[in-house]
Symmetry: C2
DNA sequence: TTGTAGGCGTTATCAA
DNA sequence: TTGATAACGCCTACAA
């Protein structure tokens, strides 16, 4: 591996100063065409490429953004993958590097990421209503964007799905099919203030009032088994429940199996809905009627917002809230009079 | 955002030279305990963290590795996600940053990644038997590791699943259940020399000979629809086919549906196997008997190999070939005498 | 239009 | 055990 050419080599070969080379590299005006030609020839001949680390040091930036995705255990993760791809695409387009960090970080470690100039900005996921990471970053004035949102989002840049409305919309769909009792299995984390869980619950509660049915509710870990058992219990205890909604995407098959284990057919005897990516919805049997989770787009948007914020000193923070989109597939059908 | 403290500030506050501070930061010997204490106090007081970009410039490294995952379109991507998580975990553990690059790159752009010192090494995916990216990197002596492998792997560091043996093993399982005609739907890319596709085909051909049955074979794009239709055609044309294997993981549900559309039940009437992650296998209905694809582990191993290679000048390249592991679930059963 | 010189924050060499 | 000083490769006033 021969040593790479530097800007000095180029300058020497072209017979100019490194300043001139630098000018050309950065598309600055005021360079004689003849000079430009000679320099470009030299660059070509040496196969020179600017040393990005050195550029960054001089510029005081790193031209890279990071996504923090704290995953202790690897669960069902279709959504996260789409987030990452979206972020990566947007970052590359803007000539930014995208660092994916899955190891959980303390606030200290997070701040150090900035202090050490490893990243110019970060995207946070798995946001809680009161998120200490957000407080820490805000306090220090470091640039960041949330996929999700907090309680107080003034001055923050966020992008999130409107889970509350999503739940109402899902219930509405089921009610319109004649269902009068709709169950809901939520993600755990309501206690801890986990955004999607809390807001979904709010939506569910609103729907219960609006459509006047009694709640039938559980919070569960995201495993097939947990969902299977919980669904079974709900079915047994609530004979008038003819439909359910779940926030568990990957494990959703557990709910389907539980229904089938009671001798019921989805959707003729029992309707199921979810909030998940189109990918996952299609892979299930039957394909799931769902509120669509546009994760890739959200990742892209988040990265774009962050990068724009890095470029523009007077960038105005926005809170983007995505309207839920209902996609009817084959897991919902008109309610039967009775389940037996 | 107040300006970060630098090593100079620390030196000043502690009343020593920056050299001394540097020594302490890098755990060099020969520092008086008293001095060390003073310096550490100063570091603490200023909240100082070394400027990683500057460190990298001085050291001539970037302490980051990249994964190139060329995805034009976003398909079913459970495996890739697990790769990434594995890589990220291993990278973080070694204090390396992990750059995920999903935009397709030319060989030029790839080489520039090194020339510009943005990364110290890369992990390549989607490897072909004759891969120009590999040639380019090898020629320039840049460090890299393959998830997958080429035809000639001497001097390369690779980790791959043994697809050939995997196919034989899958056939063996089905044959042991009494199946006498086993279909196979492969990924496209055999023509282009895409490793997993070619090697699977080899394995299938070997199994056909070994267990003496006629091949029944298709190459398909990875969509539910394509798999659905191809499976249907195969079922109609080959009445003695009682089982099939597919390399399409996410779209696999298409095969299941095709079987069901012919009034057949999986696995009583027809057995299906795949080569896919345990995640995906469990989410399907019925849960799929499969050769397990340990993607996360492969990602971690790949990153570890790469980082080790970066550290040790005399690192010896290895080619890791993973033994396929059969996991019997509920999509395979003894063959019936006839399918009608 | 071009070049000189200083700086970005660190590490490494060599004296003291 | 410590401290000047010169790299690392590039950018940017400011001067010519």
């Amino acid at each position: 591996m021969s040593k790479n050419a530097t800007i000095t080599d180029v300058a020497k070969l072209a017979g100019v100063s490194i300043t001139t080379v630098s000018r050309i590299l950065n598309n600055k005006p005021d360079v004689a065409p003849a000079t430009r030609q000679r320099v470009e020839a030299a660059i070509e001949q040496l196969g020179f490429t600017p040393h990005v680390v050195a550029q960054n040091l001089a510029a005081g930036k790193s031209r890279s953004i990071a996504v923090l995705y704290p995953s202790d255990s690897l669960g069902f993760t279709e959504l996260e993958f789409e987030f990452f791809v979206g972020v990566s695409q947007a970052a590359t387009k803007a000539s930014f590097l995208f660092n994916l960090i899955v190891t959980p970080m303390t606030e200290q470690t997070l701040l150090n990421l900035f202090r050490s100039n490893q990243v110019d900005g970060v995207i946070l996921m798995e946001i809680h209503l009161n998120d200490r990471r957000v407080d820490a970053l805000r306090e220090h004035g470091y640039p960041f964007v949330l996929i999700g949102r907090c309680q107080d989002n003034t001055g923050l840049s966020t992008i999130d799905l409107d889970f509350e409305t999503a739940m109402v919309k899902a219930c509405e769909h089921l009610v319109s099919l004649g269902h009068r009792r709709i169950g809901f299995t939520n993600l755990i984390g309501v206690q801890q203030g986990y955004g999607p869980a809390i807001r979904s619950l709010w939506g569910y509660q609103r729907a219960c009032e609006q459509f006047s049915f009694e709640p039938c509710y559980r919070e569960l870990k995201p495993t097939i088994d947990d969902l299977y058992h919980a669904t079974g219990v709900m079915l047994d205890e609530q004979p008038d429940m003819t439909a359910m909604i779940t926030l568990h995407a990957g494990p959703l098959v557990g709910a389907i199996r539980a229904v089938q284990s009671r001798g019921l057919v989805v959707p003729q005897d029992f309707s199921i809905m979810g909030i998940l990516s189109d990918q996952t919805a299609q892979i299930l049997s039957p394909p799931l009627t769902a509120i669509s989770f546009p994760a890739q787009m959200m990742g892209s948007r988040a990265a774009q917002m962050l990068i724009q914020k890095l470029h523009e000193a007077d960038y105005e923070d926005k809170q983007v809230l995505l309207k839920p989109r209902l996609v009817v597939r084959e897991s919902t059908a008109p309610a039967r009079d009775s389940r037996s």
